[in-house]
Amino acid sequence: MTQSKPKNQSSRERFIEFAKNGNILLNRCNKCNNIILETVYYCDKCFSSSFKQISYGGKGTVVTFTIQAVAPEGFEDVESYAWVIFKLDDCDINVSGFLPGISSPSDLPLGSKIKVIDFHEKHGLILQKYQ
């Protein structure tokens, strides 16, 4: 779905707004059609800054992940979680996020299906497993 660019919002604010609705906001380069994350200011193929924004469904598959014993400040309140890199479906873009409720690597085989469900001020991009 193509979106018009709202005014007076930073790129990260726009990214967060779409993530809160379960989407990942990407940019399609008007010059070469390269697709990049919305937070990047210039196309990394042709260096154009003219884009059409695309809201992508935030669903994908797990590329890699980790479960940490010591979490950084702000994450002490979470019992266990995975930090996950996942590949968006039908798109060659990886995104990373926070997946609560994962305590063992066996809970999350590589290739598991993942979706964006929110963006939390404290925990960032919130993910959820789905079948």
């Binding site: 890699t64 479960i67 979490a71 002490e76 930090w83 990886n94 960032g124």
Partner: protein, 386 residues
Amino acid sequence: MGEKVYVLGAGSTKYGKLNESIIEIALNASRDAIESAGITPRDVKAGYISNVFGVADKQVHMAPVIMSNLGIPDVPGLTIESACGSGSVMFREAFANVSAGFYDCVLALGVEKITHTSTVESTTLFSYCSDFFYEGGNGASFPGLFGSMARAYLATYKATEEDLARVAVKNHENGFLNPKAHVRKKITVEDVLKSPVVASPLKLYDCCPFSDGASAVILCNEDFAKKSGNPYMEVVGSGRGASPASVQSRKDITTIPSTVEAARQAYKMANLSPKDIDFVEVHDCFTIAELIDIEDLGFFPKGSAAQAVREGRTRLNSDITVNPSGGLKSKGHPIGATGVGQVVEVFEQFTNKAGERTVKDAEIAMTHNFGATGASAAVHIFKKIK
């Protein structure tokens, strides 16, 4: 290319938990380097300082403070930050300025003090070195970022957690021989595998420690080196590279593009290839990093580093000695100092000061150091002057 550049003197504090302030640690290494070079502070025309977390010991704008306390307040200095790669990136800038003819003699100093902070505080400070919006802000620590790289590597190639452990065992063997190493303790594969998980699949002994410490070298031009009468070594290759800041943005998570590019530039400048290198100090912040490094630097084909380690081909005085100092893993990782500490190790090896960890008949050596998960990197090649 400009003038030839030489390393004339080198000094380093012990790495570990140090009681002195960050400035005192820096001054101790600087004094040792100046005295090792047989010069006085008056000979130093500029100071290059690498540091990341000075604010944690209540000191930023560090260069003028260090220059003033060396008795040369009129000598210009600057501080450079590039996360864990700060030392080598700073060394490159010092090298470039001598090579360009701006100065005939400079001090290149790296320093860090972090062990006075709690584990959560230091873990948090380190997470600020990531692409925070996508990584630290989503809960990733540095062990976590490298844990994710390790999982991807183990899933892609014929490598196991035991292979990662063997990297740690080898580096602790070397570090045991280094009086200035932070963790001077021999360990076994079983010790590593039984140590607590820090960030799966990485365990405690897969991870380098948080360290305090400083390392310094004196860089100079040919005239200055020859007049000194002291031993010196030549910087024959220098390269810089960059990678996408976030791991998610890399097409291949099992390689670090900045290392590949920095090495390509350094080999080209030196007119050398991997087979010419007698030993290498690589950035082994986590055991997985060493496997990736020795492939990216061209010592082993992609996916074969684990087998090389299994066969003992990276041990002291084997095919290619990797991390004779003990590496970040055992020697320690005071992040602003690490890249300079690698150069100190090469200097000590080439001037017969490495003791039991001496790499026999070594004449060409490489240092490799990167920032964060490899977003920035520098590679240097050195030649022994007989």
